[in-house]
């Protein structure tokens, strides 16, 4: 295990909720509002952690295990993602498959915890979640596959460290297409517009939010925190491709952190300027991402 890489894990654990603050502030500016404080997500988490809980009589241990396993899986996935030229704590050939697997594990437990309530709303959200994430799986794994021939590496750390300015000059279009595909995955997996709307207040239109309707107290805090970390971890992969490192440790870290902030702002801009897709059109959006990743791979082949 690479101990120095743990710095990124700790950094992510601390800064991840801040990204939510940035997104919401961007959206507030676009809407002409003041918006909540930048650190609102931290306040929310602290408030929830101090509360008790209410459980439905229908639920079993699965409902209680859901948030715990999901959060643990997402934190474990942090161990696989490098930051800058610094390799991740866990680096091995094919770690990107484990990365995707851990996200799938988190989703699996969120979904069965939702089904455990016996609520139609949560069933509906769960049904949408599994549909969209199943379709988001190919663009994620194919998009990352584009990096394999470019960098000659099969680990996330190796792939992201192998990309340089030169790689962008050589295979810019392919990388750009792969990034576009991964951005779609990023928006989908993090329940963002145009796929899902984190601010909606109508159960019938929700996807991710409706699955966690019955959770409260520390469980909900785990879920919110997990969501923030998932935003960070997928963002870190995307920024890792977009902002190639190797300019010295200090600059690397600055570049990456500002990249993450820029990604949060970009998410806020996308959420402010685009309308949400109709649910029946989301699969086309995701299939489009799949096609982009195929194109990226074809360009690398050339």
């Amino acid at each position: 295990m690479n101990i120095a890489g743990l710095v990124h894990v700790v950094g992510a654990l601390i800064f991840a909720p801040f990204l939510l603050g940035l997104i919401n502030r961007t959206k507030a500016i676009f809407a002409g509002r003041t918006g909540p404080p930048l650190f609102q997500a931290y306040f929310d988490l602290l408030k929830l952690l101090r509360k008790g809980a209410v459980y439905s009589r229908t639920t079993t241990w699965v409902f209680r295990a859901g948030p715990v396993v999901s959060l643990a899986a997402i934190v474990t996935s942090l161990f696989l993602v490098p930051f800058g030229a610094q390799p991740a704590p866990l680096e091995f050939e094919g770690d990107l498959i484990l990365f995707a697997g851990l996200l799938a594990l988190a989703r699996f437990f969120t979904v069965i915890a939702a089904l455990d309530t016996g609520s139609s709303f949560e069933g509906m959200g769960a049904s949408r979640e599994v549909q969209f994430s199943a379709l988001a799986e190919p663009p994620l794994l194919l998009g990352l596959a584009t990096l394999a021939p470019l960098t000659g590496s099969l680990s996330l750390s190796g792939m992201l460290a192998g990309i340089s300015g030169g790689t962008w000059l050589r295979a810019g279009p392919a990388l750009a297409l792969a990034c576009a595909a991964l951005l779609v995955v990023f928006l989908t997996e993090n329940a963002r517009i145009p796929v899902d709307d984190p601010n909606t207040h109508l159960e019938l239109t929700m996807i991710h939010e409706v699955m966690v309707l019955d959770h409260g107290g520390p469980d909900l805090a785990f879920i919110f925190y997990g969501a923030a970390l998932k935003l960070w971890v997928l963002g870190a992969v995307l920024i890792g491709i977009l902002a190639p490192p190797q300019t010295g440790l200090f600059w690397d870290a600055t570049l990456r952190l500002s990249g993450m902030a820029a990604l949060a702002v970009l998410t806020g801009i996308i959420e402010s300027t685009t309308a949400r897709l109709r649910l029946v059109h989301v699969p086309q959006f995701l299939a489009g991402a799949g096609v982009l990743s195929v194109l990226a791979l074809l360009l690398v082949l050339r």
């Binding site: 295990m1 079993t60 474990t76 094919g94 594990l105 069965i112 016996g118 609520s119 021939p149």
Partner: protein, 653 residues
């Protein structure tokens, strides 16, 4: 070899004595299950010894043209014997309790006779080293499983399923007969070691693909599988789905060892078959309402994943890439074992559900986790494993296949990149859809509120049924966590399939897997940590029980819950063109609607669109020569005599 023969002898003798003792259900069960367990344990030891490098052969004369009683236990055979005997024994333990439910209506001698015969025949198939012996064992396997499928033959659908199975099995056999005759063309006997170097290896490969693919359940040859597997008693479904279809994979692999260097199109074909079987298998599974039928379609999916692995391995052989060969074959082979474990587990779990509630309809169940905690937990483990989630065994084999595909993409070369990229996207989609399918199966059956009285009254089954499920669930964890060690046993097997020593590439894969186990350990520690944190936070605070949030609705009822059909509907609609789900709707009408209903069914696409038209036209064609068939014996004797005369004339000319 003595152990192996003893195992086979005990299985046969035990089966026969169960048949003789049919009169008493208890005695027949004891004899049948007892001998199956003892035989399987002995056989398992023999297989484990052979896998560890203790290769053995036995050659006895046999008075059949081209035949000899020629057995061999090399690592490849031994590897496939492990699930045969392992799941065979666990299935027998489970069956000893499960079948007792039928003792009022049925004699239990025959099912135990055929069960033991099935296990023995599968073992013989895998150990046979002579074409005639292989085909005889193959036929015995097909027939024994046919009689097990038709165990509840008073039901129309079961008889129908049995016939479909019998026809499909024999059509497959016809291809195998041709395959072995061509393989042994010019040799004195059909002994495997006397096959001359084949001339048209492409034709032989295709024959093997169809013949063995029918048994394995490659799409579109799978049509018998979703009919036959659900119809059988659950421990037999587990054995058929978990092990018997793998004899098809074994046959294909064994044939490949006779055929020499594979051209690239073999690998491409297998990858194409793998993606089709995998994606369509899981899609059709999503559309099912019958729990066992859903599991049967998942067998098609998993056979697809195995085919993907083998395809990548073959491409590695064609393009001279040891890493690809080892990763592809290791992933495919490990998935054979893994699928035997989790599919066995899931079928046994489904059997426990049927046993407790009397229905296989997913939408009539619900809330079973509270009534059947162990069955529910083990089913969850199986569901997570089949969905390829870390840290369970299903993830490990898919990981190896994925890694092989990524290596293919990184290798640069269109012949490799295109199929490898297709394999990656196929596997990714299969994984995502499998998560959808098993959250549905587990969620609707075990979570929420019971939807019917039967589901509300369910009880945990007896100890004999629970122990095999618990052991298999432990195995799913075990192989996942011990994977770096587990794949070291694959070296000998891959050594038979590839002309080089797989040691280096295997130890590379093993290194990746040991990092993966570190990741699994991190995950386990974190789960423990967060669970402890949650407990500490909630200690001393108010933790209340209430009803599920229902938007203020006053009278929630169990029937309002999301059903399996509604859960899967977005996906089945999206792929509606392939699935062609039929909807029968009686909409509510009038001011005070009294009755409304919605039923959907998804018949098999290949069965409806390919096989039924073909068989109907065959039927039509044959009905034209119906006049030959009069029912008078003397006419039949005349036909025989005429045929002999014609043959004699042909011989003379």
């Amino acid at each position: 070899m003595i152990l192996f023969l003893a195992a086979a002898a005990i299985l046969c003798a035990g089966g026969l004595s169960a048949l003789v003792a049919s009169r008493s259900a208890r005695v027949a069960s004891c004899l049948g299950a007892g001998s199956a367990i003892v035989g399987c344990v002995l056989g398992f030891i023999a297989a484990a010894r052979a896998l560890a490098g203790h290769t053995e052969f036995l050659r006895l004369a046999w008075d059949v043209p081209y035949g000899s009683f020629n057995l061999g236990l090399d690592p490849l055979s031994a590897f496939f014997l492990l699930p045969v005997f392992g799941l065979g024994a666990l299935g027998a333990v489970y069956g000893s309790r499960y079948l007792l439910a039928f003792r009022e209506k049925k004699s239990l001698g025959p099912p135990w006779f055929f069960y033991n015969l099935l296990v023995a025949a599968m073992a013989l198939v895998v150990a046979a080293r002579n074409g005639v012996l292989f085909l005889v064992a193959w036929e015995a396997m097909s027939l024994a499983s046919f009689f097990l499928v038709t165990f509840e033959n008073e039901r129309e659908d079961v008889r129908e399923a049995g016939w479909t199975y019998l026809v499909a099995a024999h059509l497959g056999n016809a291809f195998l007969l041709a395959l072995f005759l061509l393989l042994g063309n010019g040799a004195d006997s059909l002994d495997f070691d006397q096959f001359p170097h084949p001339a048209k290896s492409g034709v032989l490969f295709l024959l093997a693909l169809v013949g063995f693919g029918t048994k394995a359940g490659f799409m579109p040859l799978h049509v018998w599988l979703p009919e036959a597997h659900p119809a059988a008693p659950s421990h037999v479904s587990a054995l058929m789905s978990g092990v018997m279809i793998k004899t098809g994979i074994y046959g294909l692999l064994r044939t490949l060892t006779f055929l020499g260097d594979p051209p690239p199109w073999w690998g491409w074909t297998l990858i194409a078959i793998g993606i089709t079987s995998g994606v369509l298998g899981v899609l059709f599974a999503l559309a099912q309402h019958d729990l066992k039928r859903l599991l049967a379609y998942h067998s098609v999916e998993n056979i697809g994943i195995i085919a993907l692995g083998l395809g990548i391995g073959l491409l590695g052989l064609s393009y001279g890439s040891p890493a690809l060969v080892v990763l592809g074959f290791a992933g495919g082979l490990l998935h054979v074992i893994n699928h035997a474990m989790f599919k066995g587990l899931l079928f046994l779990g489904a059997g426990a559900v049927v046993h407790a509630t009397g229905t296989r309809e997913i939408d009539r169940l619900g809330g079973l986790l509270k009534k059947m905690p162990l069955t529910g937990f083990t089913f969850l483990v199986g569901a997570a494993a089949i969905a390829g989630l870390p840290p369970l065994n299903g993830f490990v084999s898919e990981f190896l296949i994925f890694l092989g595909a990524y290596r293919g993409v990184a290798a640069k070369g269109a012949g490799l990149i295109v199929p490898a990229a297709a394999a990656i996207s196929g596997l990714a989609l299969i994984g995502g859809l499998a998560v959808a399918c098993f959250t549905k199966a587990f969620g609707v059956v075990f979570l929420g509120e019971p939807r019917t009285e039967d589901a509300a009254r369910a009880k945990e089954p007896g100890l004999a049924m629970r122990i095999p499920m618990a052991l298999l669930a432990a195995g799913c964890f075990g192989i996942g966590i011990l994977s770096p060690w587990a794949i070291s046993f694959l070296g000998g097997v891959i050594g038979i399939l590839a002309p080089f020593d797989p040691g280096v590439a295997l130890s590379n894969a093993s290194r990746s897997l040991s990092s993966f186990t570190t990741g699994a350990a991190v995950l386990a520690v974190l789960i423990g940590l967060f669970a402890a944190l949650r407990r500490a936070l909630l200690a001393g605070r108010s933790v209340e029980a209430a009803v599920t949030w229902d938007c203020g609705y006053a009278r929630p009822a169990a029937s309002m819950q999301y059903t399996a059909s509604s859960f899967a509907q977005p996906l089945t609609d999206l792929f509606g063109l392939l699935l062609r789900t039929a909807r029968h709707v009686a909409p509510p009408s009038g001011l005070f609607p009294s009755h409304a209903s919605l039923a959907t069914e998804t018949p098999d696409l290949c069965r409806e669109q390919v096989f039924q038209p073909v068989f109907r036209s065959v039927d039509w064609g044959l009905s034209k020569v119906r006049w030959l068939q009069t029912g008078h014996v003397h006419l039949y004797v005349l036909y025989i005599a005429l045929t002999l005369v014609v043959l004699l004339a042909w011989e003379i000319a």
